[in-house]
Amino acid sequence: MSAANPAAFGWWSARNRLRGVSSRSHFPLLMTCVVFLLIYIAACLRYRGFFSLQVAVNLIGDNAFLGIAAIGLTLVILCGGIDLSVGAVIGCTSIFVATMTEHRGWSPALAVGVALAAGTALGVVQGMLIHFFELPPFLVTLGGLFLCRGLGLLISRESVAILNPLYVKLSSWSLPLGGHATFPLVGVLFVALLCIVSYVAAFRPIGRYVYAVGGNEQSALLMGLPVARTKIGVYAFAGFCSALAGIAVTLYTSSGNALTGSGLELDAIAAVVVGGTLLSGGVGGPIGTLVGVLIFGVIQSAIAFEGTLSSWWARIAIGILLLGFILLQKLLQPERTNP
């Protein structure tokens, strides 16, 4: 499509006028939200019962653990890296917590604490390998993926139901929202984490360092920023988030399973990227990731509501919807002007 095309010229020039705005970083995010709303409204119009508070809330509740993991991943990607280990850490954590509370008689608090610590530790190790030895993040975290999947299976091949009363109470607790709608604990976790991270990313120096390192690591170093601390910290936080997501799973299902979250890393990456964060780092943010997660949520539940699609048509539909969404997003966004 080119400016020459007279038909397109009207909105095209409008688009060029938007260029000015686009330098303000929230503009693309705005567009992403708009597109999400379009999809959501479309779904509400098409499916009776889709437009209900509960369904809307489920969008967050059901995707909470994906979201939690994605938030950690967002920072890693902003920092110019990538973390493939998220899904595996989730599986490993969930089975660990479940086994420890059920078969080893640990108190849930202890199990959770250890799990979070372990997740963070893994992150630190990955971060150090990546920073000090300049290893490609992709490979290091792929190693992390293999490791955690293996460990998870070693802990227990069987999935384990959690019967610990305290844990069950927690997992069944949920915030009443009036009507029949309720907001599960995991959802609360997700939203809380999102708020904290968005605040830090935008308003705390460390948050800005993440953007700086992702934007141009060499420059960040020469500007005297604590690159090592930032990078390792980010991977550590991602590890923490993945572990937290694993715990969210155990709350969500009140059970642990070494195989949960297999392939989730891709969903998470996709959510982050669709949310407007550049894989090359330095541009984007957690809020976008929220929208990204919601978009995948809507697509999925739309297909569930449709209910007539065979397995393969469902897959194809997901692909097409995704494509349509991204193209729409692309169309609305003025492209970054190259230097």
Partner: protein, 363 residues
């Protein structure tokens, strides 16, 4: 056109020259050196600890042994990794190769077996192998164009652009087989997967040929240089007049075509189109192979030879694990260890560290 611009007043000659060729070679070597070392180490381990690993005999005119298996089973990942390397070098990534494998395989299988419930039932080409191959590969080609256009023309981020086909492609494959696993008897097609030529597995020979062709195509022409330019600094490349979109398109198409071939081999090998599992997660192995081969995932410099070695490393590891009958739970842990060890081996920083430690030991 006179390649070298107008005549130039040559002033006092530049500082001491080192013999270029040598330096070049060493530069190229370095990237391939470490994966090769890794491969050697793995093989050495087996030589010492895995009985009969190196035992190769001739059974009814065919070479038979673990080493042959490695070469044979390694071919799909090898093919994928070649395409993946090119795509990565342009600063992209192709997640859809696994799905494309399944798709191409499904098409071929359905054209041969012609199950009633398959939409391809109407085509009656089961008699002519060339036609089958052409159709299956042109489907792969379309997939490649799809990816290429999304990335090159619409400028989508490669990871999502190819994710689309990764999801939908497998769906399409299931659509073609209608969710079944069509099995078939078709000697000449099966030869593609399980045939032997000069006592060697045919897939191996095919892969080697393709490897040479691609290598010649990329390094013999200037394509390699342009790919590296685009991947290394898109802005500068554009101003230098490199047509990024074209270069990218070519790479994604090559990647998809190779995936198609890999899919045909895999399908022919098991005489069935197992759409749900063919090439599942192989994109990861392909990326891994490329990375082991010393191609930076940020794009830019790439090494096809390295990728090939990388693919062999991965397969050797897998075969080793199988040959040693290691418990499935452990295999993943071992894989993790090997991957990290490989990275460290390639990291100059790490090697410096080792040297420093060694020196301190001395003192």
């Amino acid at each position: 056109m006179n390649a070298v611009g107008g005549t130039i007043p040559v002033l006092d000659p530049p500082a001491a020259k080192a013999p270029r060729a040598k330096v070049r070679a060493s530069g190229a070597m370095a990237t391939v050196l470490y994966p090769t070392i890794a491969l050697a180490l793995l093989l050495l381990f087996n030589l010492l600890f895995t009985a009969g690993f190196f035992h190769v005999e001739v059974r009814d005119g065919r070479l038979f042994g673990s080493l042959i298996d490695i070469l044979n089973r390694g071919t799909p990942v090898l093919l994928l990794s070649l395409g993946m390397t090119l795509v990565i070098a342009t600063g992209g990534i192709d997640l859809s190769v696994g799905a494309v494998m399944a798709l191409a395989g499904a098409v071929a299988a359905c054209l041969i077996a012609r199950p009633e419930d398959s939409p391809l039932h109407v085509f009656n080409v089961s008699h002519s192998l060339p036609l089958i191959l052409i159709i299956a590969l042109s489907v792969a080609l379309l997939a490649g164009l799809f990816n290429g256009i999304l990335v090159a023309t619409f400028k989508l981020q490669p990871i999502v652009a190819t994710l689309i086909l990764m999801v939908a492609g497998r769906g399409a494959a299931q659509l073609v087989t209608n969710g079944q696993i069509p099995t078939f008897q078709h000697p000449s097609f099966e030869f593609l997967g399980s045939g032997f030529l000069f006592g060697l597995p045919f897939p191996l020979i095919l892969a080697v040929l393709i490897f040479l062709v691609i290598l010649g195509f990329v390094r013999g022409s200037a394509l390699g240089l342009l790919i590296e330019a685009v991947g290394n600094n898109p802005v500068a490349a554009r101003l230098a007049g490199v047509q990024a979109s074209g270069v990218k398109l070519v790479c994604y198409v090559i990647s998809a075509l190779l995936a198609g071939v890999a899919g045909l081999i895999a399908t022919a090998d098991i005489k069935a189109a197992d759409v749900n599992n063919t090439g599942l997660y192989l994109e990861l192995d392909a990326i891994l192979a490329a990375a082991i081969g010393g191609t930076s995932l940020a794009g830019g410099r790439f090494s096809l030879v390295g990728a090939a070695v990388g693919a062999l490393v991965i397969q050797t590891l897998t075969t080793t694990i199988l040959a040693r009958g290691i418990a499935p739970e452990l295999t993943l842990v071992i894989k993790a260890a090997v991957v990290v060890a490989l990275c460290l081996l390639q990291s100059s920083k790490f090697r410096e560290l080792l040297v420093r430690i060694a020196i301190r030991r001395r003192a």
